[in-house]
């Protein structure tokens, strides 16, 4: 049982704490100069607390939790990519198409049969689109389908 996870975390946090604290010292002193608390005081305290905690973590790490195997890691990366692609395509493709693709692909990657997966995505997309655009009067992008034209 190694404890690399926590050690690494401690190290990253230590770097963060130092960078954060250092940045705080760069701000010009507040106008008037001698106030007890300036914009840098609170961040300085925080960086000290974080630095102490990260040192503790490096010295006394918890045993590692179970990290996913590389295959699962790939699946996770794919899921994150799907979400990012969803955000990129949302306005261009329009809500219904991009949602069908994103939700469908996610369902499929999670093990649903392809047809069911994209059907779920499509039905979900249409339901939410109707709910948001008609009942709640919040406009979601129509995109390529230009659904707004006949919804307004």
């Amino acid at each position: 049982m190694t404890a690399r996870g926590d050690r690494l975390l401690g190290l990253v946090l230590l770097v963060l704490a130092v960078a954060y604290g250092w940045a705080a010292q760069q701000w010009p002193p507040p106008f008037g100069g001698h106030e007890a608390v300036g914009p840098q005081t609170f961040p300085t305290i925080l960086s000290v607390v974080l630095a102490l905690c990260s040192c503790y973590l490096i010295a006394k790490p918890d045993p590692d939790t179970h990290w996913p195997a590389s295959r699962t890691l790939m699946e996770l990366a794919v899921a994150v990519l799907i979400l990012i692609a969803y955000a990129v395509l949302l306005e261009w493709l329009g809500f219904i198409l991009s949602t069908t693709l994103a939700v469908g692909t996610l369902c499929w990657r999670m093990g649903a049969p392809v047809k069911n997966a994209y059907l779920t995505g499509f039905i979900g997309a249409v339901l939410v689109f109707v709910l948001f655009n008609h009942l709640l009067e919040l406009s979601l992008p129509g995109g390529l389908l230009e659904l707004e034209r006949w919804t307004h």
Partner: protein, 508 residues
Amino acid sequence: MDTLNFLMQGFAVALQPQNLMFALFGAFVGTLIGALPGLGPANGVAILIPLAFTLGLSADTAMILLTAVYAGAMYGGRISSILLNIPGDEPAMMTCLDGYPMAQKGKAAEALAISAIASFMGGLIGTLGLILLAPVLARFALTFGPAEYFALFVLAFATLGGITGKNPVKTVIAATLGIMISTVGIEMATGTQRYTFGVLKLYEGVDFILAIVGLFAISELMLFIEERAGAGRKLIQVGKLSLRPKDILDTLPTTVRGGILGFIAGVLPGAGASLGSFISYTLEKQYLGKRGHFGEGDPRGVAAPEAGNNGASSGALVPMLTLGVPGSGTTAVLLAMLISLNITPGPLMFTQNADIVWGVIAALLIGNFVLLLLNIPLVGFFVKLLSVPPMYLLPVVTMVAFVGIYSISHATFDLYFMVAFGVFGYLLRKLEIPLVPIILGMLLGPEMEKNLSHAMVLSDGDWSILWGSPLAAGLWTLAVLGLVLPYLVGPMLRRRMRESMTESQTSD
């Protein structure tokens, strides 16, 4: 008598048709969310926050909606416990012990009905306790100065982390990270830009709604992908309900005891609903001794933890509403909502925003009746929902969160930010860093800094003011205890809960 007047005003707010409608909707959606294994009340409230914003709900309506979701999720948690032996969240764990055996004996309908009634009673007792206790505590909290508030915030972090994490250092790290995120943006007093890197979007700071939805909802999806909890589950058939009034009367004393115990557990910061359901069940088991057959499907074993966990959920609102210090993860999310509505939670809220506080309390009372009425006839529907495999459900839930965030600002940038928070949240969960203190840090950070600088101005730069008054010193002591005690008690509590789970399973 003041309280009664205020409560009447609260009812006037809660009974407005629009508010009543949202309470109904919230109770329904909350029950759905609670019934789904894996989605707890904190996620449920987090997913609905964007909706409350995009709809442009007024503060009282938004709070009523979210409180109803919260109460509903607490109700719903029991359904998967009883039918699948899978607790929807931690507080629902104890309900498995007798609920599942009852269901196996063909008494699923009875178990569901008894638990609904117990939830109702527990919620009612908790809300009554809230009505009695909250104003008193609020009046007491008015005597707090900036130093006391600073100490109180430290106490909040110390106790909240205790339940959610195992390692107190990690709790401190989480809280510190959260506060650090809150310092991003333009500092109010001097106008200094802090950690904005010249990015215009960051001038106003990091939006915690994005952070909450990302941290909870997106990371939940990722954890699920990792665990691949598989397809739909075998459902136990719910037979016809044959509940006699005598059955309800038999469980009534248990329910009342459970509700009171649960409420007390809920008020204690950091203890929350898990402790509420646990002590209600164990004390009832001890109290009844040989007269009960706990673990084999005793109806009282269903009633006690359900009354306890619903009593606790109302109890957790007491410190949240009166001190601005949430008693549980979900109340922390509710607090986020209040702050984003520009309402400073705390004792002043009782005078400045009396309509909201009392509206929420009245809505909670109404919500409990609604939930009872909703739960008895609709239980079949909720049961059907449990057969939907999570591989369809989670992507759809994620999509709803996505769209909710998008509709607030119509900015794609926010979506990237939310996904980034999701990945961050997943990593933190894997490293066993609790998420709730991060949220709390983001929420309370600015208030903490403000109180710190006020205190320093008062003392002319003397740091000892922070622990100078007896009250402040007392709060600091409690904070240290709060950090250390759960370290000892928390694992024990969790172990005991697991043990009673496995015990009952092996004795099958």
